[in-house]
């Protein structure tokens, strides 16, 4: 098929559905860019794309990884933009925003707007009411006008900004359930109502300041919580967008067209260039190639493939470019199976009741019960109906779970931002709570305990000049073994006139580097090796193996010191697994465990009441990651695994894992302390409110005080 020689530029494809019309006849094209992290990246990408003739604007949003490009000129093609970004060294895909993302962005803006409005009102009303509480010489008429002014500002503000709570409370009440927003809404609305009544009666127990301040403080907690979830979703969003893979399909006229992977149907022929990932299951056609199956099996070394070999989705072609016959749709392929497993894991996880929810469940009936008791108590004691109602409402206002609403998000924000600086990415708030509870840590071997890439094993047996000669060739190739060889030899020149024969080896100036057959050896020793021959001398062999991470042993010891059992599960052979386990100091290990067996293992731990931490990086670990009590993936892990894991460690070390466990345990302690403080506040405030001793000033001071205390306590996590 001649089409194999097509350069990507000649590919006939249609990206028009990704182009949106914008104002002034411009067209907008949105691209998901991966790998941009710094000011230099922004300048490079925006500058590079603007450099295309006809492009009028390019702006990269670093938080979402979305690059918006605008042009008016028909000469500009989306492919040119994509290619330019890829040439600059970043992964790029047309951006396809799921509807969920828009809803999330809307929620964030709404919260921020409510927060701003209530912040303004809090400051203003405080200024007014301070004058009332302290200004003993205010004339009654002036005080009355102050109250009306406070009412005029705080009623609309509390109604507007508090809608976050009212809507949430209403939605659960309709289902005959309750949550923390029910007492919050009740307190806010009752405080407004009572204050209006008092003002109209020319009395002076108004809670306008308490209502707006409550709204403001609660919204701070809510916004912190949103930011946390948003940042966590940011990572997942990135992965999701990058997964909307494209594929190059042969048209009947043997030309290539680019289509979304989900449009592929069994029977289609697709073209995969070296380094590309297969989006669906398929069969290799025509010639031999080589593939990196590490995402599928966890095996690091590339596997050579004969024509008509079966390939699973997720394989990366490392050998010659391949034509593949599609045998399954995306949704029937391996990745989709994993996605279903992931979903199952997510469901068990959603059943996890976090501490804040536990507190809410106990809190709501307790507080409403108390208010009712106070009401009945005053009536029985012979007080008037008005006094009984006022006291009951005061109880509801004063017990509004303001500090409780801040207790958990403040700690979680402090903990995740500290971990973020240490290179640990926490993807959900309650992941830390779950991490604090673990008692077993299960590790995958390849790529987790080990470096997951080949390292030259017999370097000591090889003469330095031979190594350098071989490296002359190796530096010119992207093959994993060649790269390992180049790394062992260090930086240096590349042979000129280098030719690479895919699936065989490299050749330059009479030197050959490649597989056994390429160097004239009938059969190699098997395993990962490269052969090297200079002229007619006897070929020599470079052997490679996967090496344990330098910090693995220390990490395992630290885990054991914290009372956590350590186990290793691997799909690898028993002898290789045993060596690594011994080296890492892990006594408990199982080899030749497939993905399904790994998942089963997690389930049996769960059934036994143990709380597992799963650390893994491959597609084969994904199900186990999703089913574990909490899971961690190294930053080098497959995208799906990062998606499945609760925490992702950036960088190339396992050490932050220990830090994460310590921080999570400390965070849990702080949350409990915060609950204790909030409870203490309520224990002192409720009796006062019940006996009608709480003035609006006392309410304002105690509420702000307890919220401040809780926040300061959480901030202790940031320092150290």
């Amino acid at each position: 098929m001649a089409a194999l020689n097509l350069a990507p530029a000649d590919v006939a494809d249609d990206l028009s559905r990704y182009i949106h019309p914008a104002v002034g006849g411009e067209r907008n094209f949105e691209i998901a860019v991966k790998g941009a992290h710094c000011a230099g990246c922004i300048a490079k990408i925006e500058g590079g794309v603007k450099g295309i003739a006809g492009v009028s604007a390019a702006r990269l949003n670093l938080s979402t990884g979305k690059l918006t490009v605008a042009w008016r000129d028909d000469a500009v093609k989306p492919q040119m933009v994509l290619r330019r970004v890829r040439d600059l060294g970043y992964e790029a895909q047309p951006f396809e925003a799921p509807a969920v993302l828009d809803a999330e962005a809307h929620e964030g803006r709404m919260l921020l707007r409510c927060l701003a409005v209530s912040g303004f009102a809090t400051v203003f009303i405080m200024g007014l009411t301070d004058a009332i509480w302290y200004g003993a010489d205010l004339s009654p008429a002036l005080r009355q006008s102050f109250f009306w002014l406070a009412a005029a500002v705080s009623v609309p503000v509390t109604l507007y900004s508090g809608q976050v709570f009212y809507l949430s409370a209403w939605s659960v009440l309709r289902q005959w359930r309750t949550n923390m927003d029910v007492p919050i809404s009740l307190a806010l609305l009752l405080a407004l109502g009572l204050s209006l009544y008092q003002t109209a009666q020319r009395a002076h127990d108004t809670y306008f300041d308490a209502a707006v301040m409550l709204t403001f403080l609660l919204l701070v907690g809510r916004y912190l919580d949103f930011r946390l979830r948003d940042r966590a979703r940011g990572a997942a969003r990135h992965l999701l967008v990058m997964q909307s893979l494209l594929a190059q399909r042969f048209r009947p006229d043997a030309k290539l067209e680019t289509v979304a992977a989900r449009e592929l149907a069994p029977g289609d022929h697709i073209f995969l260039a070296t380094g590309e990932r297969l989006p669906v299951n398929g069969t290799l056609l025509e010639r031999n190639s080589e593939a990196d199956l590490s995402l599928v099996t966890g095996e690091t070394m590339p596997v050579s493939l004969a024509a008509s070999a079966t390939l699973l989705a997720g394989s990366i072609i490392t050998g010659a470019p391949a034509t593949i016959l599609v045998t399954a749709r995306v949704e029937d392929s391996l990745v989709a199976d994993l996605a279903r497993l992931l979903e199952a894991g997510q469901q068990t996880r959603n059943r996890y009741v976090n501490l804040a929810e536990k507190a809410a469940r106990a809190y709501v009936p307790l507080v409403t019960g108390l208010a009712l008791l106070v009401f009945v108590g005053w009536l029985l004691a012979g007080a008037g109906l008005e006094h009984a109602i006022t006291s009951a409402i005061t109880v509801l206002i004063i017990t509004c779970p303001c500090a409780l609403g801040l207790a958990v998000p403040a700690v979680q924000v402090a903990a995740t931002s500290r971990l973020f600086r240490k290179g640990v990415f926490v993807k959900s708030g309650n992941a830390l709570e779950r991490l604090a509870e673990i008692d077993v840590a299960v590790f995958d071997k390849t790529g987790t305990l080990t470096l997951g890439k080949p390292v030259l094993e017999n370097g000591a047996e090889i003469a330095p000049d031979m190594l350098q000669n071989a490296a002359l060739l190796a530096r010119g190739s992207r093959h994993p073994l060649a790269r390992a060889l180049a790394e062992a030899a260090g930086p240096g020149p590349v042979a000129t006139d280098l030719r690479e024969t895919a699936g065989a080896g490299l050749e330059a100036a009479g030197r050959r580097l490649g597989n056994a057959a390429w160097c004239g050896i009938a059969s190699g020793n098997g395993g990962s090796e490269l052969w090297f021959r200079e002229g007619n001398t006897a070929p020599m062999v470079f052997r490679f193996h996967d090496k344990i991470r330098p910090e693995t042993k220390a990490v395992v010891t630290s885990l054991k010191n914290r009372g956590i059992d350590v186990e290793m599960l691997t799909g690898d052979r028993a002898d290789a697994a045993g060596d690594i386990a011994r080296e890492a100091g892990i006594a408990l290990w199982n080899a030749e465990v497939g993905p399904a067996a790994k998942a089963l293992h997690m389930k049996s731990y769960r059934a036994g009441g143990r709380r597992t931490l799963m650390v893994g990086d491959g597609l084969n670990d994904t199900a186990a990651l999703a089913l574990a009590h909490v899971s961690v993936a190294p930053g080098t892990a497959a995208e799906v695994s990062q998606l499945a894991a609760d925490l992702v460690i950036r960088g190339d070390s396992l050490e932050p894992l220990i830090e994460a466990i310590d921080v999570s345990r400390k965070a849990k302690r702080l949350v409990l302390q915060n609950f204790a403080m909030a409870a203490l506040y309520n224990l002192t405030a409720i009796p006062m409110a019940a006996f009608g001793l709480v003035s609006p000033l006392v309410a304002a001071v105690t509420m702000a005080g307890s919220s401040l205390l809780v926040t300061l306590n959480a901030l202790r996590l940031v320092q150290s």
Binding site: N61, L62, R109, R113, F120
Partner: protein, 51 residues
């Protein structure tokens, strides 16, 4: 008394002004990419075209 009315009105207007600016900033997408904007100041602007 009159002084009080002026001061309170001024406080209200200043507060509302600040709120208005924040809401405007929000609606004109200035809070969309805090991470990127923090880094953008490090980039040099292109030199002004020679006149």
């Amino acid at each position: 008394m009159n002084g009080m009315a002026v001061v309170i009105a001024a406080a209200l207007l200043l507060g509302l002004g600040g709120l208005g600016v924040l809401l405007w900033a929000l609606s004109s997408d200035q809070y969309e990419d805090l991470e990127g904007d923090a880094l953008r100041i490090l980039n040099d602007d292109p030199p002004p075209p020679a006149s």
